[in-house]
């Protein structure tokens, strides 16, 4: 039987504008992958968000990564530093 976990998600730049917030907690089923989480966010983040980068706990992460309770996910739209 799967338990739920809580993850924190950070939004930056125009992703924060689209979400109307800088960070948000989500309660999701244990075993959820990062890719599934992104799919969950996509309606509000926009269709381009599947091409963006993501990190978990300040490390770049791919869609297959299983999420754990307390993870910090960051949504990284195309960067524009410099």
């Amino acid at each position: 039987m799967s338990q739920d976990i809580t993850v924190t998600t950070l939004f930056f730049s125009f992703a924060a504008d689209r979400m109307n917030c800088r960070n948000k907690n989500y309660v999701i089923p244990q075993g959820t992958t990062l890719g599934e989480m992104v799919h969950l966010l996509q309606p509000q983040l926009g269709p381009d968000s599947t091409h963006w980068l993501y990190s978990v706990n300040e490390e770049w992460a791919s869609g297959e990564r299983p999420l754990e309770d307390g993870d910090e996910i960051a949504v990284i739209p195309p960067v524009s530093g410099g």
């Binding site: 930056f12 125009f14 504008d17 770049w60 960051a74 524009s80 530093g81 410099g82």
Partner: protein, 144 residues
Amino acid sequence: MDVYRITKEPIDVEEALQAIADPAVGAQAIFLGTVRNEFEGKSSQGLYYDAYVGLAEKELAQIGAELKDEFGARHVVLIHRTGDLPVGAISVLVAVSTGHRPEAFEAARHGIDRVKARVPIWKKEHWSDGGDAWHHDPTAFGLT
């Protein structure tokens, strides 16, 4: 000495020069990005920079390690400023020191290119006409 930093404070070029100094070094290359008064022909009053500080500083350090491996840089300083920056302010500094000059230019050039391509930092243009626009936002620059 190496410095990899995201900061709200003004960037201090002199600090960077001290960090890369070394008696075995013959060449130092420094790149400064500064806030322009226009972008693609439209007048601007300045930029706002947002960053994911923790990951950004890790990525700066990763880029610094690459510049040492690939171009023989002895010391690397990569600093990016965040917050509201007026026209003329330094937003980013890349400083490297190497034995000879060709590697210094190569390292600095790849340094700024990689910072711009990979580090989680975002800029918003404060247009002189009052509007704001995040760079790379498809809706902000008529890309959609």
